[in-house]
Symmetry: C2
Subunit: 250 residues, 2 copies
């Protein structure tokens, strides 16, 4: 079985209140792509955030005294630092260049996902969706309502990583797919029990989708992955966030 990674081209610029499932279905129809049961839609958090109105004008942000201090230390705008702090549960690492945060959802990433690029020339910022698993579920339900097709949805974002250079796309929300696949207890050819192996398939799917997402002005914010036999389930993408107590690198 071959897996196909299919870009969904032609999604218009998304704004607050837009109906993402409808945009996806209309765009698929216009591209002669018929959604199928078992398709996985990988959707960039950027369009989800915009549709959910998670764009903030920096003029409306009042930096706290701590944000002002951190802004001076890191050279970032104080309003942006204030937003980063509001989006964070804790700060995991800080240098004069980087603020690595644990987001309110529990993911660890730079700037808690607050993004200046692509919005109003740096005068506004986008924040991550409040609950990306819920966003994924609503999109999945919306697509089922419009098409009758049972797809899985992954909301993705690009994150830097310790130990390895370069960012990769990972899953920050999902619906209809188990993000971790368990190979625990499988035996090999010699009857020797393999070590526990749990594969982060939702992250691998997000990474596969990124190969088509990255290019262009706003890129390709929706990618369909077809032919991958995933395990259905209700687990949230937050199971991918490794708690500090399990982490040798926190």
């Amino acid at each position: 079985m071959t897996i196909e990674i299919i870009p969904l081209r032609g999604i218009p610029r998304v704004k607050r209140g837009d109906d993402i499932p409808r945009l996806i279905v209309e765009c698929a129809n216009a591209s002669n792509i018929e959604l199928k049961d078992g398709d996985i839609l990988v959707i960039s958090q950027k369009i989800v955030s915009k549709a959910e109105g998670r764009t903030v004008s920096l003029l409306d942000v009042e930096p706290s005294p701590f944000a002002l201090k951190i802004a001076e230390y890191t050279g970032k705008k104080a309003e942006v630092v204030e937003l980063i702090l509001r989006e964070s549960r804790s700060i995991v690492r800080m240098s004069n260049k980087h603020i690595i945060c644990e987001t309110n959802h529990g993911f660890v990433c730079a700037n808690a996902g607050v993004d200046l690029s692509n919005v109003n020339g740096g005068k506004s910022a986008t924040l991550l969706p409040v609950d990306p698993d819920r966003s994924a579920r609503l999109i999945r339900e919306g697509i089922f309502k419009l098409t009758g097709k049972d797809v899985a949805v992954i909301i993705s974002d690009t994150h830097g990583r310790p130990l390895r250079r370069g960012v990769v796309n990972v899953a920050i929300g999902c619906s209809g797919i188990k993000p971790l696949k368990n190979y625990r207890g499988k035996h090999d050819l010699y009857g020797y029990t393999m070590r526990v192996t749990i594969v982060a398939v939702a992250d691998e799917l997000a990474s596969a989708a990124e190969l088509l997402m990255g290019e262009g002005d706003e890129g390709v914010p929706v990618v369909i992955i077809r032919g991958y036999h995933y395990e259905r389930g209700d687990d949230k993408a937050t199971v991918l966030a490794r708690p500090a107590i399990e982490d040798l690198f926190r």
Copy 2:
């Protein structure tokens, strides 16, 4: 443009001295898959290590006094710990369960890639290839010689990660493809210069391939990725290893 991820089924059990390019070409022919210019072959390090004779009988390993001590602390076999130490440039984290090493190549992973599973019921171990970039180059050259096709080759391994649960497949060797893709300096729609964005596409390709590699007894050790427009280049996969001095988590 759609990307296809195509499993190459039917690769026989690999042993020392086997000619991997020939096995791949024969297997592709038998499966009616014609290799094309621009295909990316993602190859599990396991079969490369075996072909290169990187299998060691534990009976031939004399543990050092330090290895004996660590074996007692971690509950691992002393001979295995000895191999882990020999494969390591440094130890990055150690607990009573885990030894996270910087391999002689510079990658950080558990047990320096020394693997007991799948070889002789735990009486032998496989080590990573001595130089996975060289292995990738030789396989690429071999395939060119047999078919006249210019493919890229990625040697992959599954690694655990800080911050996120689950292992993912990453690139530890490559040939013919730039492992990092540079979006530095691209402008967005508003003329606002985006932050530096460097995407680890070789890791994303390895992760995409894993979606088909994982299953089965020995799994599917070779996967073809077709339709991805990669940048050609001579960079080694070791550029993906983030040096400690650049790493907020070391």
